[in-house]
């Protein structure tokens, strides 16, 4: 910055943040010179993007580095403090009160107009109306938010941010749950706000989209700002290589070595055709062969988890036809799926994968014993040998069996969440983010065991947000974009930049 230039509206310099052993941010920088620009922030999962947004919006306190607004250093202790400085964030999960009206939601928190001792309804309503007009958002202010579409709810959140006189508006993956038309109207709103002088920080992975809207781009990788500049100075290719780094990640050998075993003549373990989940998945089809590991890649909201949950029968009835080992299978709840030899490791191990209050042993035998007579005394040592074998193969200390699961590290918890399915070897194992948030060693152990059970004849469908993981583990990768499979890639012949581009909606 040249001397004498006015101080930039927002500047982050050398911001650092450590969570326990993880250094989420090492050297994050971001500059927004003035209002009225759209600044895209991009980075892979685990690049520290969410932490950076947390620091900006007052949810996380940084350890070192400076955040300054118009040259004055600031340190937000809470989201309210950030709002007071004119920084507002609209998060990925839309947080509106469904039973309050549009006007009430817009004014929620601080915007109500007070008169005498109470809230003035009419004054509040007209204030909300003003904000809605500023957004050119045509909706009845008295309509309960419950009745609105997702994009309209998002607009309500944006309106709420504006009532706080936001000068900097953060939109975290705002398009992940929107249709094409809805994205169009969101972009119109963003442009309108830009013209009104608001600075917008826009997080997105969709290449086409972000080039359409961005003025400036900042790329984050491993907690470090690795590239920043005007949108015109990037191409989709240069952006992807900045996100991934120059050297391709190691550890691809395992995948290619394992792929030797599967051929097109191996019997199909799971066949899915015409799977439709309204609003999430369109016409998903898959032939998963014995011994094969297939990966699902895509952005948040691409419909990957919905595919796994539908096959397992965990989310109501899904349209589509399914076959297990050539026999028809109609998903209807986890019990039927398990009876058909299907296993499912959910993404959230703490809430869905494990009962944390129970012992490791109880969790590991939970699936295997789910159909035992309920009043029969659990025979001591029933399946103990199997449990010990599974624990050993995942390098999980068998002495932990009596320990409360809550006391284990994240890596060991995830091992238990996987192990409970391996006690009864499943014909088809569905894994949703099988190594999210686990340490490197536990990840390697889990990967090794997954390859081993595939080699022994199980068929695996792995959903992961980490492209590296898919390339390490899988024989082929299906890339999804907005509910559709857009590519079916054999692993030795693809790489992370191709997958990332396809996942972002860029045809290759």
């Amino acid at each position: 910055m040249v001397d004498g230039h006015p101080a930039p509206l927002l500047r982050l310099e050398g911001v650092q943040k450590t969570f326990g052993p993880t250094r989420a941010l090492k050297d994050a920088n971001l500059t927004i010179p003035t209002g009225g620009v759209v600044h895209v922030l991009i980075g892979e999962n685990g690049s520290g993007k969410s932490t950076l947004l947390g620091v900006l919006s007052g949810q996380i306190r940084h350890d070192a580095g400076t955040v300054s607004l118009e040259g004055r250093p600031v340190r937000f202790g809470s989201p309210v403090a950030a709002l007071r400085h004119g920084v507002a964030m609209v998060s990925q999960e839309i947080a509106v009160a469904p039973d309050l009206s549009v006007a009430e939601n817009v004014l929620l928190g601080r915007g109500q107009v007070r008169r005498w001792a109470g809230i003035s309804r009419s004054a509040s309503r007209s204030k909300a109306q003003g904000v809605l007009e500023r957004l050119d958002f045509d909706v009845d202010p008295d309509c309960p938010v419950r009745r609105l579409r997702p994009d309209q709810r998002q607009m309500v959140e944006i309106a709420r941010a504006l009532t706080a006189e936001a000068r900097i508006l953060i939109l975290d993956e705002p398009t992940s749950s929107l249709t094409d038309d809805e994205v169009g109207s969101l972009f119109a709103t963003v442009r309108r706000l830009k013209a009104q002088g608001v600075a917008i920080i826009f997080v997105s992975h969709r290449m086409q989209e972000l080039f359409e809207i961005a003025d400036d781009i900042t790329v984050l990788r491993d907690g470090v700002t690795v590239a920043e500049g005007s949108a015109a100075s990037f191409t989709p290719e240069s952006l992807v290589s900045a996100m991934l780094g120059e050297d391709p990640p190691a550890g691809r050998e395992g995948g290619s070595a394992a792929s030797a075993g599967v051929g097109s003549d191996d019997p199909v373990a799971l066949r899915v055709s015409g799977l439709v989940v309204p609003g999430s998945v369109e016409d998903f089809r898959l032939d998963l062969r014995r011994g094969e590991i297939v990966g699902l890649a895509g952005l948040v909201g691409a419909g990957r988890s919905e595919v796994l949950e539908s096959i397992f029968g965990a989310r109501g009835h899904a349209a589509g036809t399914f076959e297990i080992h050539g026999k028809p299978y109609v998903p209807h709840g986890p019990r039927r799926a398990i009876a058909h030899g299907i296993g499912f490791v959910p993404a959230d191990r703490k809430a869905d994968g494990l009962v944390l209050g129970m012992s490791v042993g109880a969790n590991m035998t939970m699936v295997d014993t789910h159909d035992a007579p309920r009043l029969a005394p659990p025979a001591r040592g029933r399946g103990a040998a199997t449990v010990a074998r599974v624990a050993a193969s995942l390098r999980l200390n068998p002495q932990l069996a009596e320990t409360g699961t809550a006391r284990l590290s994240g890596g060991n918890q995830q091992k238990v969440a996987v192990a409970k399915w391996l006690v009864r070897r499943p014909g088809v194992l569905l894994l949703d983010e099988p190594t999210r948030g686990v340490d490197v060693m536990a990840k390697a152990d889990i990967h090794q065991e997954l390859r081993a059970i595939a080699a022994a004849g199980s068929a695996l469908l792995v959903n992961s947000s980490e492209i590296d993981e898919l390339l390490t583990l899988c024989h082929r990768v299906l890339v999804m974009f907005r509910g559709r499979v857009v590519a079916d890639l054999a692993v030795p012949d693809t790489d992370d930049s191709e997958i990332l581009k396809l996942a972002g909606g860029q045809p290759c």
Binding site: P346, L356, M358, M366, H370, L375
Partner: protein, 341 residues
């Protein structure tokens, strides 16, 4: 150094240690200050007087472990009393009537509360409140607001018969407790209840039949309430047309005092037994001391808060004190207690 067995037993009390200490301390205090307290007759009366609450609270423990609660048990007990009186009038043999009553209680609990909560997924509070309200009405209508004198030998036998020198309610309490303890710790059903209370989603995804388990849990609570209802009729010698509206809340209080979490998934019937004894000793001791019985409620309320708050502070203090020297085995024992005694 303490014997490992004693240490293990002590560790297993971690969830209801405060109430355990209070029960012992109160017993000692009343024994020293009230000469009439520690006589064999008084202790037997004290325990037998708590039999209704005990039996109801044992069933209630499973409901809380599964993550719910049941407000309707008092109404179920009253309804069973009327059912008992009417069936005995018809000349149905006494033992059969008791079986009939318990089955009716299980049916009411399972079909009304269990199906609505477990299968339909309605709110526990609304469902059990509605059941309580309707059953209270049914009790009044069916009885015509009349009391029924019950003189059948079966009713007397339940309440006043002695076996090996102890009143029958104490034997019933022991039997209910042992069955509950067995089901809780030694069956897959017991494990299912803990799993559902810990995380209903994780239980469901693991193949556990969540609706069926919940229906049985509420049926068990109803059956226990019905059994308590029959004991009550025996003790009073009549079936009365009024619902003891405090029974359900007292039972929930006893379960919570005993260290079972309102959110489900941890605790157990061992703690509940102490919770009931706490209320019983307090009531008995204070009345012997000539203190107005209202103070019993005041003290119970205060201790309930302290016990639940202590639940948040206690484990950290205890593990911190032990942690420098604690071994893997120690930690394993401590956590094994998370399934309760």
């Amino acid at each position: 150094m303490l014997n490992p067995l004693i240490r293990r037993a002590w560790a297993s009390t971690s969830q209801f240690r405060l109430v355990l200490l209070l029960v012992v301390a109160m017993f000692a205090f009343f024994a020293l200050t009230q000469p009439a307290f520690s006589t064999s007759t008084n202790v037997q009366n004290l325990v037998a007087n708590s039999s209704l609450l005990w039996v109801v609270a044992m069933g209630m423990t499973f409901v809380l472990l599964s993550g719910g609660f049941d407000l309707s048990v008092g109404a179920t007990a009253a309804l069973t009393g009327i059912l008992m009186a009417k069936s005995l009038e018809l000349g149905i043999p006494g033992p059969l009537v008791v079986v009939l009553c318990v089955a009716a209680g299980a049916l009411v609990g399972g079909l009304l509360n269990g199906v609505a909560v477990g299968k339909v997924g309605l709110s526990v509070f609304v469902v059990t409140l509605a059941t309580m309200t309707s059953l209270t009405g049914v009790v009044s209508l069916w009885s015509g607001s009349n009391s029924f004198l019950v003189t059948a030998p079966a009713a007397k036998w339940l309440a006043t018969e002695r076996f090996l020198g102890l009143p029958m309610p104490i034997w019933i309490m022991a039997a209910v407790f042992l069955v509950a303890l067995y089901v809780q710790n030694r069956t897959y059903f017991g494990r299912d209840v803990y799993a559902i209370g810990g995380s209903a989603t994780a239980a469901r995804l693991s193949g556990i039949h969540v609706p069926r388990t919940l229906i049985i849990v509420y049926a068990v609570a109803g059956a226990c309430a019905a059994l308590a209802g029959t004991i009550g009729v025996g003790r009073v010698g009549a079936a009365v047309p009024t619902v003891d509206s405090t029974l359900a809340l007292q039972a929930i209080a006893a379960v919570l005092l005993g260290g079972t979490a309102l959110t489900g998934g941890s605790g157990g019937v061992g703690g509940t037994a102490l919770g009931v004894l706490f209320i019983a000793i307090l009531q008995n001791g204070l009345s012997l001391a000539g203190v107005a019985s209202d103070w019993q409620n005041v003290v119970t309320g205060v201790i309930l808060i302290v016990a639940v708050a202590g639940d948040r502070i206690d484990p950290r203090l205890i593990t911190r004190r032990r942690s420098p020297s604690s071994t893997a085995v120690d930690r394993a024992t401590l956590s094994a207690s998370s399934r309760g005694a």
